[in-house]
């Protein structure tokens, strides 16, 4: 077994059943054997892609000011989406002891 799915699942923050561990192991092995074909290729360019389109100027920025119109992105509305909230704040379980 090449892949430690328990370690990967832990890094990915997903709890998996034992059946899922078995099936993902098989699937990922098979996908890896396919993508491993690139290992035989040599790379001539040294630079990595930073953006898939070579257009300049790349990256639009805007001024750091609130542009939302009245009623847009209302905090109460956004907090209301959280499964747990209190006093217009998202509630989470205690992290520190």
């Amino acid at each position: 077994m090449r892949i430690d799915t328990h370690n990967i699942a832990n890094l990915a923050r997903i709890s998996l059943t034992e059946d899922e561990h078995v099936s993902y192991n098989t699937d990922i092995e098979s996908i890896l054997s396919f993508i491993d074909t690139i290992q035989s290729l040599s790379v001539s360019s040294s630079d990595e892609t930073t953006h898939s389109v070579g257009l300049a100027p790349v990256g639009v920025s805007r001024a750091d000011v609130v542009t939302a119109r009245e009623g847009e992105y209302a905090p109460t509305e956004i907090v209301a989406q959280a499964p747990n909230s209190e006093d217009n704040a998202v509630k989470v379980k205690k992290i520190l002891n």
Partner: protein, 495 residues
Amino acid sequence: MQIRTHLLPDSIIDFHESLLTRKCTVEEVVRLYLSIIELKNTDNNAYLEVYTEEAIAAAQACDTIIAEKTREQLEGYIWKNKMFGVPFAIKDNICMKGKKTTASSKILENYTASYTATAVEKLVHAGAICLGRVNMDEFAMGGSTENSAYGVTKNPKYLEYVSGGSSGGSAAAVAMDGCLFALGSDTGGSIRQPASFCGVMGLKPTYGSVSRHGLIAMASSFDVVGVIAKNVEDTEVVFEAMKGLDTLDSTTHTTKVVEPHETLPRHGMKVGIPREFIFTEGVSKEVQNSITLTIEKLERKGVKVVDISVPLLKHALALYYILVPAEVSSNMARFDGVRYGKQADGKDLLETYMKTRGEFLGKEVKRRIMLGTYILSEGYHDAYYKKAMALREELTKDLKKILAEVDAIITPTTPDTAFKIGEKNTDPLALYLADIFTVTANLAGLPALSVPFVQSVDSEGTPNYATANGLPLGIQFMANTDRETDLFALGKMIY
């Protein structure tokens, strides 16, 4: 139920012409689409939710505008509001304020969008009417909509076949006459493949030409919002209406306004064909035949077809399945059950994260997160991710060199026609291989259009796709950055 199909428009131009001549009202047409959806959706499962009340109200508002205008005034109004009254559908990963947006996942079952996607906002601003949201593979991961948490969308042509994916609901909605056009998203073929499977037009625009603001991210350097429609002209007008710079998406760029004459077929256009990539094992004879016949047709119309060779093309799929899961594993980290979506109860925060994701994310999504996490993990990052990024750059350079010489590269959209529901859902790799022709455009950020291949049309107007199972297939053109105009010109030559 009696459906007055004579009112059904063939195109946006046709629809606007009917409004100008007072042949129908917007409300009549919207109600017609709603009744078709009601009739067909139980079988098809293209729509997940229909906005009946809002759509009718919007249609009535359009009719009030019409009533106040002379023909000439209305013509001027439609010229300015190019989407006036046009009914459309949105893929379930594109936000519309106040409406549920679930990405067809259980984890977002209760999520209500708190803002509207830029692409949708632009279309609505130009007068379009949203009829509802349509089905997809969960978080756009898949090629058949079999990964939706809300059931598969069946192919409108033959219900035992898939509609493709991940924008399967969008393609099926257009093909079944459930709207005039639909929005989809394309990360590796998610617009073009279902368009090909359902016999409709599918455009994946240049990366960054349409804002991703309000599109639920899958792989951010690949994703783009695009169009599924019935013909080239409609695809063009929708794309024009929604493209452009958006300060809410830093990867967008300015695109120039295109005049209608710029997308007309030109004499002396040049198309490149990578033969060794098409006439090979794994590509069906029917698909190869469709390419041969299309090339003959293009040549008859004065297009010069030249052989090209891009050795890296056959590795594009491997690059894609390294880079996309890597980006997926990062993008999907936000679904942790804290700020939105469903939450499973755990004894502490970590267990809450793990249980939430384990329980409410689907099989394929978890598979890709696992794969991406592995690829980015210590000891593997350089061998996979870094190497694939360098090769992505090389592939892009190779393609751009060729696209400086030819207007477009022609390939099939898919290696075969649609498959049967359930046929490929046990082997993920088999399904990935169906993306062989589409992923390249996303790796290089290039625009691509899937055009239905039609050998002939009978006296009733029924197309003959020249396939044994009678299902459609698509021809794909891929052009240089921001050269959608060339795609439209070529599309008009063959369809």
